[in-house]
Symmetry: C2
Amino acid sequence: MEKKSIPDIVVGRLPLYLRSIQRMAQEGRKVTSSQELGERLGISAAQIRKDLSQFGEFGKQGTGYQINYLINQLSKILHVDRIWDIAIVGAGDVGNAVVRYQGFANRGFRISMIFDNDPAKIGTQMGDFIVRNTANLIEDIREQNVKVAMIAVPANQGQKVADQLIKAGVKAILNYAPISLYVPADVYVQYIDPAIHLQRMTYYLD
Amino acid sequence: MEKKSIPDIVVGRLPLYLRSIQRMAQEGRKVTSSQELGERLGISAAQIRKDLSQFGEFGKQGTGYQINYLINQLSKILHVDRIWDIAIVGAGDVGNAVVRYQGFANRGFRISMIFDNDPAKIGTQMGDFIVRNTANLIEDIREQNVKVAMIAVPANQGQKVADQLIKAGVKAILNYAPISLYVPADVYVQYIDPAIHLQRMTYYLD
DNA sequence: TAGATTGTTAATCGATTAACAATC
DNA sequence: TAGATTGTTAATCGATTAACAATC
């Protein structure tokens, strides 16, 4: 009997739930409800209960959800009950911002290497790292068994870098280059393009 | 008679269509089809035709879509047939990356000011701008009639900054702070949080 | 013309919501 | 206990797809 498959749209909301209850925990809160969580996120309480119920019974009638317990469960579900090493490709302004980003702490990730193909940058310090040569990308990533990477290079180099990452065994790519990538079915891609997000809003402005 | 309302999920795909055909134009292409565009984006041809047909008839049977014409039409629909000034709040690493970002050219946006509340940063140069004092945010933004802003401050300052932006008349906020914002119904928010995107992928990894 | 591709309809598929029994 | 809130079902709502007449 197959494990029933969870809709991707549900998976996409779980990290929001996790972020929100982690914040509640920081605030010293111990218990929450689907209603409170929904108000914080702008999502209906029914949807939150339905989403969570796909994975188990995490709450108690009458009282709600123990925050610490739900954090643990969601972390396991999302596989961030461990630390994923991340490789960054591109040591420009975006790569620089990500390599120094403090927001990965307690969220399951840490930067472990950064690459560039510019001789002027290779070997220099960036954040806590020495910029590596993209020419060695495949062997370096393979050697350290890195499975998650970020692409922070210009659009015209994005696909080439993606191809190398895939060859190196990377299975999850966060792409800051403003292009769609072609990848095999067992590789996951997420996109961050500020202009795309902005255009989604200007539609509604006059 | 009311103008029929377009689903937000459709609006969300239009910027992807626009980016893709702008890229085709750069490649020297003149004409495309819903099928080709769909292959580039991993979206079905039927969906692309249906989405576009919500706004008019932009193609010709047998031949497809004139790229330049479709770029013009989509730019108008998304209101990027003009240049929107953008204010950035937060002159840390993320603010620095965004203020220098070259990717807004031809996409309807330009950075016009950046703020920080750190006396060590106020008055210094960042990219093409002098960092302004967040204390003057409301008057500065009002004076220049800026309607679009980005939040690039720590999580615990995000809501406070959002409240100021709204008071200043901003209607669209791209939020890099890892929190959900409360905003009035006439203000639009989009979120960029790399950890959220990464967790969406690690779910599928083992 | 013959071939290709649109715009659109109807059918299918999937996601959200409302409601409530169960139960803490 | 009485009140509150879950987990779940069924109904509703919305989005996607398949198919094809229209037509370039």
